[in-house]
């Protein structure tokens, strides 16, 4: 009985055409979607290609009977031509220049970010932000020129004969200036994302603007600031042109800021600039260095993303 009342007559008998509401297969639509998917997946291919090519050549390098991992990570002389493969000769310079850069860029970048986000009026921001953007947009080879022909002569008058023409200090200082806008803008984004209510709360408790900024806003944005610092380090480690121009040519195991020394990136740039024959130990060694560089920056970038996701304070 009940079933009969529910049984509605088919549409045709009421004078309507039956609509097929199932998704229609459209060839061109699927084709386009396929192409777009390919564009999307291409970035994966790029990563795979980087890992594969760098890994393949690096493997050739490590397969050389002369090269052992112990030698690679355990000694401090780098001269593949005569069988010396101590990566520390290059890593020391990378560490030194990057450390100087971060020591400059971190305090300055953070202070700039706090000022821009907490103190600056709208008008000041509209003047100051473009200046940071211009600094961020200057090609690194121009910074190299600046390091060699402006900063180095100044250092020369300070340290007299104590400093070499090419030195890590000059390269590191200028690298710090180069990274400053990056850290400033990333930190500022993090600071601006802290909700107003937190600041109002602190003011209501009688805190000064400084106390609010340093004890409430900065801690709340710490994950973003941390990410900025890590990205800054990764940028410093991978930076090439400043060190290639100003830090010196020739591997040198030294942590003395006033010495000339070659970083991993600088070494790649110098050696690959000449005529390099494929399959030579010089060629494959470059890929081993590049692989290390890639892994270090990859880990740093992954950590920075993890920091942001893990420690982000969720508001709203």
């Amino acid at each position: 009985m009940k079933e009969e009342t529910l049984n509605i007559k088919p549409m045709e008998t009421r004078g309507f055409r039956q609509f097929n509401l199932k998704k229609k297969l459209r060839i061109s639509e699927s084709l386009i979607q396929g192409l777009l998917f390919f564009a999307g997946i291409l970035s994966i291919f790029v990563t795979v290609a980087i890992v594969y090519e760098l890994g393949k050549e690096a493997l050739l390098f490590f397969n050389d009977p002369d090269v052992t991992l112990g030698k690679f990570f355990g000694t401090t002389k780098w001269q593949p031509g005569i069988g010396q493969y101590g990566i520390w000769a290059l890593v020391s310079a990378t560490l030194t220049t990057s450390s100087i850069a971060i020591l400059i860029a971190l305090p300055l970048g953070l202070a700039s970010a706090v000022y821009l986000s907490e103190y600056a009026t709208q008008k000041m921001r509209s003047i100051l932000k473009p200046i940071l953007e211009i600094l961020a947009g200057i090609p690194t080879v121009v910074y190299g020129y600046f390091a060699l022909l402006f900063v180095t002569p100044i250092l020369k008058t300070i340290f007299k004969d104590g400093i070499q023409v090419y030195n890590m200090l000059s390269a590191g200082l200028v690298m710090g200036i180069m990274i400053l806008p990056l850290i400033a803008s990333m930190s500022e984004d993090a600071l601006s994302a802290v909700p107003r209510a937190l600041r109002e709360g602190a003011y209501a408790m009688g805190a000064t603007k400084l106390e609010t900024s340093l004890q409430v806003v900065v801690p709340a944005a710490l994950s973003g600031i941390g990410a900025a610092v890590i990205v800054g380090i990764s940028r410093a480690v991978g930076e090439t042109m400043i060190v290639a121009v100003a830090a010196g040519a020739g591997p040198n195991f030294s942590f003395n800021l006033l010495d000339a020394a070659e970083t991993m990136t600088g070494h790649i740039a110098r050696i690959s600039g000449g005529d390099l024959s494929y399959n030579s130990i010089d060629y494959t060694s470059l890929f081993a260095i590049a692989l290390m560089l890639f892994l270090v920056t990859l880990v740093l970038n992954l950590i920075s993303q993890w920091v942001v996701n893990k420690f982000r304070e969720q508001y709203e």
């Binding site: 459209r26 061109s28 639509e29 386009i32 979607q33 777009l36 998917f37 390919f38 564009a39 999307g40 997946i41 291409l42 970035s43 994966i44 790029v46 990563t47 290609a49 980087i50 760098l54 300055l108 953070l110 202070a111 700039s112 706090v114 000022y115 103190y119 200046i131 211009i134 600094l135 947009g137 200057i138 090609p139 690194t140 080879v141 121009v142 910074y143 190299g144 020129y145 600046f146 022909l149 402006f150 603007k209 400084l210 990205v231 990764s234 940028r235 991978g238 930076e239 090439t240 042109m241 290639a244 121009v245 990136t265 790649i268 740039a269 600039g273 590049a290 890639f294 920056t297 993303q305």
Partner: protein, 412 residues
């Protein structure tokens, strides 16, 4: 209660504490501001440094006395006189070579004048001074030149001249120009954008409009963010291994019948740059597509449009300003990036314009790098001039991007 009173001073003690807190606050505020002031000073110093190198006094000498060739003062030589001098004095082989590059009769007076100076008189730069020195110590410099180089002529010179833009490379700083380098950079930008724009926008459309929320999409997204942080020199190594070596028959043009080249061509470098700017392109296009409101898509679906029709007719046109801004950023990156070009194998010295994707090439930043690392001061001066050219290009591009953003930005 009494413990709390120790923490919170009262009366005059409270006010002196308050004054101290305000004082600290002011001091720190000044410190924060000084960080920005340091940034401004650095930028000013950099620009000053570049301009300082691009202008200034030059003391130069002639290896051969111009009087040997002509009796007229050299500044007043006409085109015909120059032609006869060149024809008479240059060896016939050298003359024919020049004539083959470009007909001597078709060259302008200034071109011939430069040839005259370069080939016959052979200018020899003795010393150069920076702009600041030239302006503040003019008399000292004149005295110094008179003493050290009695034959030399002192001239206040702008190294950045119209000729600097139109002449090709030369081994002499006085005659070198950036035409080859600028053309090389333009080729690079063209190839990189031709690759990165369609692929980047396609990937962004896929990720924003089609991709399901699953592990693969997550991996693609994380991967793109990571690629954006890979050092540019690593891309150079990738380009060297893949484009220069593995795909040599394609990038050298051997496959298309070009015979006289290896894989170190403008095509290899352009594709490397394309891959380098791809993450930047995708991320920017994604942001632009994300900003298009959903109501627009739903309206299109509501009147029966397919997904692609919706994207092509509604989403992309509305995301266009953002995509354009992203492209301009990618172009600036391509123009300024140096390290991958060195690795992929930019030529350090060529004077022939690149005329096909399979040409050898050089680029503006490569020239700047080359000239900066030379010991002679006159090369630093042309490096500075090339930097001015590069920065002007970049600044005008960025200004266009900002204008575009402000004029077409829509609030939904």
């Amino acid at each position: 209660m009494s413990e709390q009173n120790q923490n919170y001073p009262e009366g005059s003690a409270f006010y002196s504490e308050l004054r101290k807190r305000y004082l600290t606050a002011t001091i720190w505020q000044t410190l924060f501001l000084s960080a920005l002031v340091i940034a401004i000073i650095s930028l000013t110093a950099l620009i000053y440094n570049v301009l300082d190198g691009a202008f200034g006094y030059v003391a130069y000498d002639y290896k051969n006395d111009p009087a040997e060739f002509t009796s007229t003062p050299i500044h007043e030589l006409t085109k015909e006189e120059l032609l006869t001098i060149l024809k008479a004095e240059l060896s016939s082989g050298a003359y024919n070579k020049l004539d083959n590059e470009k007909k001597m009769e078709d060259r302008s007076q200034s071109d011939l004048y430069i040839l005259f100076l370069e080939r016959l008189v052979q200018i020899d730069t003795k010393a150069t001074w920076s702009m600041t020195d030239s302006l503040t110590r003019g008399d000292e410099i004149r005295a110094e030149v008179a003493e050290k180089y009695p034959d030399a002529e002192l001239e206040f010179r702008s190294w950045l001249t119209p000729q600097f833009l139109t002449t090709p490379m030369s081994s002499k700083a006085e005659f070198a120009g950036v035409r080859t380098a600028v053309l090389g950079s333009l080729w690079l930008v063209g190839i990189a954008i031709l690759f990165a724009l369609p692929v980047g926008v396609g990937a962004a459309v896929y990720l924003q409009e089609y991709a399901p929320h699953n592990w693969l999409t997550n991996i693609i997204q994380t991967n793109i963010n990571n690629l954006a942080g890979v050092p540019s020199i690593v891309y150079g190594m990738l380009g060297l291994a893949v484009f220069v070596r593995v795909m040599e028959s394609f990038t050298s043009g051997a496959m298309f019948g070009v015979t006289d080249s290896n894989g170190r061509t403008v095509l290899s470098a352009g594709l490397t740059m394309g891959i380098l700017v791809l993450p930047l392109m995708i991320i920017n296009a994604q942001e632009a597509i994300k900003a298009v409101p959903d109501s627009l898509r739903q309206a299109a679906f509501g009147v029966g449009a397919t997904r692609w029709q919706t994207i092509w007719h509604h989403v992309l046109p509305n995301a266009l300003p953002g995509i354009m801004t992203g492209s301009i950023l990618a172009i600036s990156r391509t123009l300024g990036e140096t390290a991958p070009l060195i690795v992929v194998g930019a030529s350090t010295f060529i004077s022939l314009d690149p005329d096909s994707p399979f040409s050898k090439f050089t680029a503006l930043p490569i020239q700047i790098y080359q000239w900066t690392t030379r010991p002679q001061a006159e090369f630093h001066s042309i490096a500075a001039s090339a930097i001015v050219v590069l920065l002007v290009l970049l600044l005008s591009l960025n200004a266009t991007a900002i204008l575009l953003r402000n004029r077409t930005q829509r609030k939904w």
